[in-house]
Amino acid sequence: MENYFLILIGTVFVNNIVLAKILGLCPFMGVSKKLEAAIGMGMATTFVLTLASGASYLVNHYLLGSELAYLRTLSFIIVIASIVQFTEMFIHKTSPVLYQVLGIYLPLITTNCAVLGIPLLNVQENHDFIQSLFFGFGGAVGFALVLTTFAAMRERLEGADVPLPFKGSAIAMVTAGLMSIASMGFSGLVK
């Protein structure tokens, strides 16, 4: 039990997928202009990433094994893309409200490298099925947390008197860098 808790804390704060592992930067920069959009994207990613971790564990463990390890990346991509597509259709049908919220962000998840990175890290660290699920969920929550925090900051940056050469993406990059440095403060939290 303690193990799972540590995985959660570790992935959300200490080894944050965005700030420590520098993965998933495209949606981090792209979907952080508005807080609402960032929350939607965070929710969608959490949902997909948890499923993808579990599914890719199953594919890797039962289908590929060690002899077909070189097919890992390829098959993971296919699995993730299918899950995203399936999720989109499923949500569209069952919950129009949720679809309105997540709608246009769902397809973007396919291209989120964090979603591929986490299943690959799962394999690297030899997680079992439950651990993989926790690792995926924790990583996604970490992503969502950082994304929403960053979006809230960027909304304020809109109104700030930023020197002209730094306006827009430039100051956002600086902010992201500062966030990354700040997150190093968590590094002593879990050994």
Partner: protein
């Protein structure tokens, strides 16, 4: 001693009140011209009910209330209606508005005045009478009082006599000199609203007014509550909090917490309207600031400010005039603007009394504004979002709870004109809301039109089918003839229209300068051309219809 419930924030600007209270209220002289705007209250402007050239009596209704949120407007003096036209009014835009211009005849003949026995008539009827007497809130918001009085079984009636803004002393003087009449007005309000408790809040910098009111309230059961001098304790929501401890929720009205608040001058006008049958045609105005003889005057509504201020002798270095107090007042751009029901004070400004504000520095987020804000808002955040035109966020931070009191401006160490940003954001949001409603309406109308066209098409098709069936049944079928007859009739109509148009002979065309003649020729040519193409278009269309019918 009643426990007070202080509101958050507030400031202590220098009072400047003593100079205008040295002498009692005097009547201002009758001006040569009165300009009475028809929009002197919140809501719909009044509808003019007199014509140019009419002779009106003092107190005669010249503008009737239009709709529910509206109030009547009356002639302040007997005289003749010279014009009903656009005239400058006191408004931040400087735009003119429809006003009735009167020339007083100096006779001051009143209309027939009739006192109302308010205990004998139905409260609804009394409210209508007040609307017709033009009674509105005289504290500055000028909201029609009859609407606010429509709250029966009230817990607390709060009478706002705090008069917290610097310089203004009109309510102070009113209470000193006419306390008994004010109390009679309050009694009417209490009767209409069946209020259980009446609290009169007066700031402790007006000891004479307090003792006068206390003496007048003897035996009435009304309680005069002395409140500490703190701007803006005269704001309705803040005074309610101060006296009753109840906070009016955001977006709600005072009666929802069982309280209603009226200005003390409104109570006086209600007394005049009910017990004397006199509509609101004058009010007490403080003339102060850079003047030799600052004093309170009873001024007829419609008196041009430029003419009025002469009685108080403005000093030579007067640079302009403010309507209202220095915190929330409105700089007057045109000396021709009239005194309206909202005018409680006119301050002559000079570079010495009102030096231009120091140049602004950037916001350093010191949050002094948040400490001073009586509405408990975060002015620095509102400023941030209003400046970035992020109106949705500004609304999230309760922009519309801002009372524009100016406390944040006053304390801002960077001298940023914060209130201007809030006003800008508020009016932008209102404009967006209007646009949204307009486009919503346009969409509905467009969709209905599409539906209507579709329906007409179907109806036509059904009719044709029926006709075709009929024609098939009767072998000789006269539809061809019918169409031809219709076409001929249409052609005849077009010819008639053409003839009629050609028959219009121009007037005043003798000895025109050559360029004017050339212009006319050009127009004439265009017109002939237009007529021809019109004929063609009409013919084409009619032949289309003819074909459709056959």
């Amino acid at each position: 001693m009643r426990t007070l419930h202080p509101f958050h924030g507030g400031i202590h600007p220098p009072e400047h009140k003593s100079q205008s209270t040295r002498q009692g209220i005097a009547a201002a002289p009758l001006p040569a011209r009165l300009v009475v705007p028809l929009r002197q209250h919140n809501g719909n402007p009044a509808r003019p009910v007199v014509a140019v050239g009419d002779h009106v009596l003092k107190g005669q209704m010249i503008g009737a209330p239009e709709g529910f949120i509206s109030a009547a407007v009356h002639a302040p003096a007997s005289g003749r209606v010279m014009a009903i036209e656009m005239q400058p009014i006191p408004h931040p835009s400087g735009l003119p508005d429809v006003s009735v211009v009167l020339e007083p005849d100096g006779e001051e003949r009143w209309i027939e005045r009739q006192a109302i026995d308010y205990r004998a008539i139905d409260p609804a009827d009394l409210r209508n009478r007040l609307r017709d007497a033009g009674v509105v809130g005289l504290g500055g918001a000028v909201f029609p009082s009859h609407i606010k009085l429509d709250a029966s079984g009230l817990e607390t009636l709060v009478i706002n006599a705090a008069e917290c803004e610097p310089y203004i002393t009109c309510d102070d003087m009113l209470m000193r000199e006419r306390a008994a009449e004010v109390v009679q007005g309050i009694a009417i309000m209490q009767h209409v609203m069946a209020a259980r408790e009446v609290l009169i809040g007066i700031e402790d910098n007006k000891p004479e007014a307090i003792s006068a009111m206390q003496a007048a309230c003897q035996g009435s059961g009304f309680e005069v509550v002395t409140v500490p001098t703190l701007y803006p304790s005269g704001s309705a929501k803040q005074l309610i909090k101060l006296l009753t401890g109840k906070e009016v929720p955001s977006g709600a009205l005072a009666p929802q917490v069982g309280v209603q608040c009226f200005n003390v001058a409104t109570a006086y006008t209600i007394h005049r309207a009910v017990n004397h049958g006199e509509p609101v045609i004058s009010r007490i105005v403080t003339l102060t600031g850079n003047m030799e003889e600052p004093r309170n005057y009873e001024v007829l509504i419609g008196t041009p400010v430029g003419e009025l201020v002469k009685v108080a002798k403005p000093r030579a270095d007067t640079s302009g005039y403010l309507m209202g107090g220095p915190m929330m007042g409105l700089p007057l751009t045109d000396p021709g603007v009239p005194v309206v029901k909202a005018t409680n004070c006119i301050i002559a400004t000079s570079a010495e009394l009102f030096p231009p504000p120091p140049r602004a520095m950037p916001c350093i987020r010191c949050t002094r504004c948040a400490q001073a804000c009586p509405a408990d808002l975060q002015p620095q955040e509102l400023f941030w979002f209003a400046k970035a035109k992020n109106f949705a966020k500004a609304q999230e931070y309760q922009l519309f709870d801002c009372i524009e009191c100016g406390c944040c401006n006053y304390v801002c160490p960077s001298h940023i004109p914060l209130v201007q940003f809030y006003r800008f954001a508020k009016s932008e949001i209102h404009a967006q809301e209007r646009d949204r409603k307009a486009s919503e309406r346009a969409r509905e109308r467009h969709e209905f039109r599409e539906f209507r066209l579709e329906r007409e098409k179907q109806e036509k098709a059904a009719k044709h089918a029926a006709k075709a069936a009929q024609a098939a049944a009767s072998p000789d079928g006269g539809s061809g003839d019918e169409a031809a007859a219709k076409k001929a009739a249409i052609q005849a109509a077009i010819d008639r229209a053409k003839a009629k148009k050609a028959a219009v002979t121009p007037q005043n065309v003798d000895d025109l300068p050559p360029e004017a003649q050339a212009k006319i020729d050009e127009i004439e040519e265009r017109r002939t051309h237009a007529r021809e193409s019109a004929g063609q278009a009409a013919a084409v269309q009619k032949s289309d219809e003819g074909q459709g019918a056959s």
